[in-house]
Amino acid sequence: MPPGEPLLRPDWIVQNLDVIGERLAEHLGMTATAVAVGFLISFVLALLIRQRRTLTAAVMGTAGILYAIPSLALFAFLIPFTGISFLTAEIALVSYTLLILVRNILLGLDSVPGDVLEAANGMGYTTRQRLWRVELPIALPIIVAGLRIATVTTVGLVTVTSLIGQGGLGYLIVVVGINGFFPTATYVGAFLSVALAVAADTLLLAIQRRLTPWSRARGATT
């Protein structure tokens, strides 16, 4: 840091609102893409596991290994194939969502009580109707809990992708702030990244509450 450089320059922030906004939007887009793609893959994997429980160990083991690989190492492995690109960043980000999402989708589906499944079969639901109309709605709170963890984690991880030329707010934190000896950018990036994580988490919780009014209805006199 050059001598005399203050920790925060409000005038810089005001003058660079457009750049900050762009990076925030990029961060949001990368997060949303990773979580959405990760969810789709996880959903398919979870359904496969439910069809064939013997796949559990293989799928969860692979997801666990992916989760354990350091992100820098993963970039290094991927760059020979996909280059220094958005795709490389997203592959890494998606990989990190799988373990949490597959696990929570399975936990959610397994949380559906046996008597509810038996009643659903006895009423004449087809397997598909049962999944969409009974099992998934009941599993929703646990699935959304998984989505919230995955989202918050991904918001944090996106900053790391600045090392391969992506990064959203990570660009402000690392490239402008750290590499450029300019603490204001680091602070702005870090603050917005945290704010984005909190906002996304709150929004998902609100959506879940809205979709599952029954999960809060209590007051039984059993």
């Binding site: 006895g122 209805a217 007051g219 039984a220 006199t221």
Partner: protein, 411 residues
């Protein structure tokens, strides 16, 4: 719970149903269908292993309650589940009104058969209304028809549609859930209902009320009901016919409750129904089958003089004290009356056993023996006094070995 629900604790006696079925809408037009099992066998293991159900043949007449009863491992639930193909038989034929159920696609078959299980299995994410509407929705009824049907059904099972329609199962008591379960099973007016220990998870007092209520409901809808229980008392109370199964899915006896109690087919049946067969037969007659004794009724606050005279002239030793609305408060003995002045409630011996016409003689006997005065007050759905019965009347039945002639069950 804010409104006075049907599961509030019973007040004077446990044997009355708190919520009478006051519905005026006509229930259902479809009466039951004949269900026939012809040499049905279910074997879970490979050929040669012991079957769960063995060469079982049963004909269940339309509109009757057939109770499958037996010890655990007797295959009663397996038998029931073969009727809607939740379990596929290994061999044999099952028909409903002559149609071979194995020729009907399972999903279609199940939508046409009511299904009630012990844990109820209400869908927690759906309101009471949506739970009740499940099968009509699967059958793609128009929404207006579904709405009308839901209200009709909730009314039928004694739940006020306006108060219950939009509640979630987690907001209901066990008894209320069970009623919703029954409403849901009846939704598409199926000719056949399968009920797997439907009242097993409810406490004994509520179970008794739900059973009475269900019998009244059945008197109106006349479905063919296959009812599974391990409780021989429940079987005797609910059944038109009982199939007693023994381990390995072998049919030990299939007959009316009275015939089974009077003439058990073998040692197994005799042991299974228990040593108190005579007492159990009392479950087969109901209070309405007895000739009611005319009570001496005195109203709280009325003058004592008239009551003294009435009690003198009557054959009973106790006058029944009622409140201004005609609801029983307790008993007054000759000695409790002190000549003049208004009668007040403190003079009475509290604890009149309230019985309904549908109460079994066995339950009536227990209730009367448990109260200080060995008389029971028979009341109608609005708690108006219809008459009295005495312990002596029931012991006469026991001594004669003849059950009183059953009045028309349609009431």
């Amino acid at each position: 719970m804010t409104t006075a629900g049907p599961d509030d604790p019973p007040s004077v006696a446990a044997l009355r149903t708190a919520t009478p079925m006051t519905s005026t809408t006509s229930a259902s037009s479809t009466s039951g269908a004949v269900v026939e099992l012809d040499h049905v066998t279910k074997r879970y293991g490979p050929p040669g292993t012991a079957p769960a159900v063995n060469e079982l043949s049963l004909t269940i007449p339309a509109g009757e309650i057939c109770v499958l009863v037996g010890p655990s491992g007797c295959g009663k639930t397996t038998t029931m589940k073969m009727i809607n193909r939740l379990v596929e038989p290994t061999s044999g034929r099952l028909t409903i009104d002559g149609r071979d159920v194995l020729q009907i696609p399972p999903v279609e078959l199940r939508r046409g058969i009511g299904y009630v299980i012990q844990q109820v299995g209400l869908f927690p994410h759906m309101t009471v209304g949506a739970n009740t509407a499940v099968v009509p929705r699967l059958l793609r009824w128009p929404e207006a028809r579904i709405r009308a049907r839901v209200d009709e059904l909730l009314d039928l099972v004694g739940l006020d549609p306006a108060a219950y329609r939009d509640r979630y199962p987690s907001e209901l008591s066990g008894g209320e859930r069970q009623r919703v379960g029954v409403a849901r099973a009846l939704a598409a007016d199926p000719p056949v209902m399968l009920m797997d220990e439907p009242f097993g998870a409810v406490d004994p007092i509520r179970r008794d009320r739900l059973q009475n209520e269900f019998l009244r409901l059945q008197a109106r809808v006349r479905k063919t009901i296959v009812f599974v229980t391990h409780d021989v008392d429940e079987a005797i109370k609910m059944a038109d016919r009982i199939a007693i199964l023994q381990r390995g899915g072998i049919l030990a006896q299939y007959d009316t409750p009275d015939a089974i109690l009077a003439h058990p087919a073998n040692d197994f049946v005799e042991r299974f129904v228990g040593a108190d067969r005579g007492l159990k037969r009392l479950s087969l007659a109901r209070v309405r089958d007895l000739e009611l004794i005319k009570p001496v009724v005195v109203t709280a606050g009325a003058d004592q003089t008239g009551a003294t005279g009435d009690l003198h002239a009557s054959s009973v030793d106790y006058a029944l004290l009622v409140d201004g609305g005609g609801r029983p408060l307790g008993w007054i003995r000759q000695g409790d009356l002190h000549g003049q002045g208004p009668i007040n409630a403190e003079q009475a011996t509290p604890g009149a056993s309230l019985l309904e016409p549908e109460t079994t003689l066995r339950d009536a006997l227990s209730a009367m023996l448990a109260s200080s005065v060995q008389l029971g007050v028979v009341v109608d759905a609005r708690e108006r006094v219809l008459g009295l019965i005495s312990v002596d009347q029931i012991s006469e039945v026991l001594q004669s070995g003849q059950l009183p002639v059953r009045a028309d069950a349609a009431g």
